[in-house]
């Protein structure tokens, strides 16, 4: 603030001026429209001589700001006077008078007012409510000003972060004072609709300020708030996760610039692990057994871990920062598997706090799975997070574009954490059916497999431990994951079951996922094959990704053999594969490195990792009936995607394709008699075109090696 912005003011007279300007604002609002309406009506009818009333309109327009600013000056002067700051000796105090300095000082005052309101909430709840409501109104006005309002919001949240983080708990306490008798009717109320609205406004303001830039101290105050549940409620009722910042400035304490959302998620998870994560509810209430279901639903709705996962999934960056971060491995285990033999997929047990003075506690603590809970006087509820939220979170975590930046590294680590913690599907001893993950989680696993397909392929011969590193350890190369794919057998596990096999088995346990993954691997193998027969692979990358994909296809065949599908499931699997092959062939023109234009798609090692086709549609549509079963079987042979890729790469002479009925609009279609025609064509050209014969044999051999790998160790009995 420059000295010229400061003005010595008489606090009493400024306060009077503020009151007079507020009165003037109200008088203008009530009377200017009256004057303008009446006079304009007469003048428009031709009566009298019009004069300009523009000055009235202009005065009314500025009167609101005049009043607000003078009120702020009065508050500033009052606060400065109370602190005996800047007394000039003449009864005047120095305050910033206008512009950003005035706004900044106002924001500081509001931050102090919020802290004071929370401090006095227990003693004077009505005054605290009024003060919080007034601040909420200010936030709403500044948030509504767009970018012009951001500086005020930044100043406010930089100063008020600790109080803002604690706001939800304060609001809950205002409605549920600890000294009051239990209120049976509000026993399920955590936050009233009015509280939720207040938190929505504070959350919206925080998101705007976060995107505009908060101080590291403010971020820490919220992300590491003593009451993580309270801080998470700003996210629950605030804007969608996509409107929060994707990262924070890098600091020594936050070297990768993790977002506020990611840091808060880590903190929520860690508070849960410490047994200090509490959801306030039911002040002094003993919940009868009949309340159990509703209580479980309400508590689940206010589960801060679920709240954060949902926002992280919407933000995407936060999802991979968490899943690829310090708690990612443990979190993956909790979400996908069981912790220390506890029930799978739960995020903990909610236990009502201990009694105090014959009074039930007004909170439930979320204890992590795998740990014992203390003796409880009230209810104990098992909490399973919403699988739609978990699926979206896991899916987002691996969705960063492949590359060598920090996002790609976190996302790769997230993928590795997910893969290493995915248990195999459970087999039913009754009917042999398999129970895998929920559908949303299954979809996330499939997407992970598709995004890291070449990595999984390269892992089929990898016998080390799980790792994320630059390909070939060259810093310029993309981050890749290595999943243990080969392991010596032992007496307890003769097949030497690897994390790669277990992950694939879980993906393959769902018929639609099995079909899509198989089709994708075949298509990708065909594409790599086409590249090998045209311009070749870029130096420094995988030397034979087509062969790696053949090995993965063999591993998939082997693991699929361990899943006993019934006839309907087998049909679903095949339909999904056929439909996917068709879909992937149709979008071939968008990826394939046509001769002469190779540089666009496969010029770098990084681009090789992007050749994998991705799903653009829901799994459900992929199991739709394919009319001709024989056609479906023909379509899934590996020579079909190989030829398809050659054609898409313009590597087949047009003369060889002339009048072939199975080639329609550049795509192989094997319905009806086309299958036989294609077979004849293939037999004619496989020896002379693109080493088709030789490569198909090579791929078949690699596939069989994968099958032998496990079958040999299992004594021929499979893994």
């Amino acid at each position: 603030m420059s000295a010229s912005d400061e003005v010595g003011v008489d606090p009493g007279r400024v306060s009077q001026a503020a009151g007079a300007l507020e009165n003037l604002r109200d008088v203008l609002a009530a009377n200017v429209p009256t004057i303008m309406n009446i006079m304009n009506e007469y003048w428009s009818s031709g009566a009298g001589s019009p004069i300009s009333l523009a000055a009235l309109h202009q005065a009314q327009a500025r009167s609101a700001d005049d009043a607000t600013q003078m009120q702020t000056r009065a508050q500033l002067a009052e606060a400065w006077l109370a602190q005996s700051v800047s007394l000039t000796g003449s009864g005047m105090v120095n305050i910033p008078f206008s512009g950003p300095a005035l706004d900044s000082a106002d924001a500081t005052l509001e931050a102090q007012a919020l802290a004071a309101a929370e401090a006095q909430a227990a003693k004077n709840p009505s005054a605290a409510r009024a003060q919080i409501a007034a601040i909420e109104q200010e936030i709403k006005e500044h948030a509504g000003d767009g970018s012009a309002g951001a500086p005020w919001l930044q100043d406010f949240y930089n100063d008020a972060a600790p109080a803002v983080a604690n706001l939800a708990s304060t609001l809950h306490g205002l409605e549920n004072p600890s000294g009051e008798p239990p209120d049976y009717l509000s026993r399920f109320t955590v936050l009233t609709p009015n509280d939720q609205q207040i938190l929505a406004t504070f959350g919206q303001g925080l998101a705007v300020a976060d995107k505009a830039g908060l101080s590291p101290e403010a971020v820490q105050a919220i992300a590491n708030a003593p009451d993580a549940w309270s801080a998470a409620m700003l996210v629950k009722f605030g804007p969608p996760g996509s409107l929060w910042a994707a990262s924070e400035p890098k600091t020594p304490q936050n070297r990768d610039g993790l977002s506020l959302l990611a840091q808060l998620t880590n903190h929520v998870y860690e508070q849960e692990q410490n047994g200090t994560l509490r959801i306030p509810i039911g002040n002094g209430i003993e919940y009868p057994a009949g309340d159990r279901d509703q209580l479980a639903n309400v508590l689940s709705e206010y589960d801060p871990l679920q709240v954060m996962m949902q926002a992280d999934a919407q933000n995407k960056n936060a999802a991979w920062q968490v899943m690829g971060g310090r708690d990612g491995n443990a979190l993956a285990q909790m979400l996908l598997s069981s912790v220390q033999g506890d029930l799978p997929n739960i995020d903990g047990r909610l236990v009502q706090g201990p009694m105090n003075d014959d009074r039930y506690a007004g909170y439930f603590t979320l204890y992590p799975p795998g740990k014992s809970v203390p003796d409880a006087w009230g209810q104990i509820l098992i909490n399973t997070p919403d699988q739609n939220v978990v699926g979206a979170f896991l899916d987002a975590a691996t969705s960063a574009p492949r590359g060598n930046d920090v996002n790609a590294r976190y996302s790769a680590q997230a993928a590795l954490n997910i893969i290493l913690n995915t248990p195999p599907p459970l087999s039913s001893p009754y009917d042999g059916s398999y129970a895998g993950q929920s559908a949303p989680v299954q979809r996330a696993l499939l997407d992970t497999a598709l995004r890291y397909e070449l990595d999984l392929a390269e892992s089929t011969t990898y016998d080390g431990s799980g790792a994320v590193l630059h390909f070939a350890s060259m810093p310029g190369n993309p981050y890749v994951i290595l999943v243990p794919g080969v392991r010596p057998g032992n007496s307890g596990d003769p097949a030497g079951t690897t994390p790669l096999s277990l992950f694939l088995r879980e993906v393959l346990a769902d018929p639609a996922s099995a079909g899509v993954l198989t089709a994708s691997v075949k298509t990708t193998m065909g594409r790599y094959y086409a590249i090998s027969q045209t311009a070749g692979f870029p130096p420094g990358g995988p030397s034979a990704p087509d062969q790696d994909m053949a090995a993965l296809l063999g591993r998939i065949d082997t693991e699929a053999g361990n899943i006993k599908f019934n006839a309907a499931q087998q049909q679903d699997e095949q339909n999904a594969e056929t439909n996917s092959l068709i879909d992937f062939a149709q979008d071939a023109v968008t990826w394939v490195p046509v001769v002469g234009d190779y540089a666009d798609k496969a010029e770098s090692v990084a681009s090789l990792f992007g050749v994998t086709p991705q799903l653009s549609t829901d799994n459900a549509v992929l199991t739709q009936q394919v009319n001709e079963h024989d056609f479906a079987v023909d379509e899934t042979k590996i020579n079909v995607p190989m030829v398809q890729a050659l054609i898409s790469a313009d590597a087949v002479p047009p003369s060889a394709l002339q009048d072939q009925p199975w080639l329609q609009n550049g795509r192989i279609v094997l319905t009806g008699s086309n299958a036989a025609a294609f077979t004849s064509w293939y037999d004619e050209y496989k020896g002379s075109l693109g080493h088709l014969d030789e490569k198909e044999s090579q791929y078949q051999s690699l596939m069989q090696q994968q099958e032998q790998l496990t079958e040999d160790k299992a004594g021929g009995g499979g893994s």
Binding site: V27, T34, I35, Q58
Partner: protein, 97 residues
């Protein structure tokens, strides 16, 4: 027919009274602010600049308000003239028929 003219004029006069009351309310509110905007309340160039800007704006407002009584009289006179013309034209029409 004189009643028609007088009733129209009285209605316009009543509306102009409403306008003038509104104008007086505004003038009064401005009058309560002005004494507080002075060196007794603040000292400093930023305050002086704001005060000058405010005074300029509200000088124009007061000028506008001061011009209103004449405008109101003009409206009333205009209404009277229009009503008298209306009556005269109807009387002529009646005579013609």
């Amino acid at each position: 027919m004189n009643n028609f003219v007088e009733e129209a004029v009285q209605a316009a006069a009543a509306d102009m009274g409403t306008v003038q009351a509104a104008a007086d309310a505004i003038s009064g509110a401005i009058g309560k602010v002005k004494p507080l905007l002075s060196g007794q309340t603040w000292t400093g160039p930023a305050a002086d600049a704001w005060e000058g800007d405010w005074n300029a704006c509200y000088s124009a407002v007061l000028s506008c308000l001061n011009a209103l009584p004449a405008a109101e009289s003009s409206v009333i006179a205009g209404v009277r003239r229009q009503a008298e013309q209306f009556v005269a034209s109807h009387a002529a029409a009646a005579r013609a028929s």
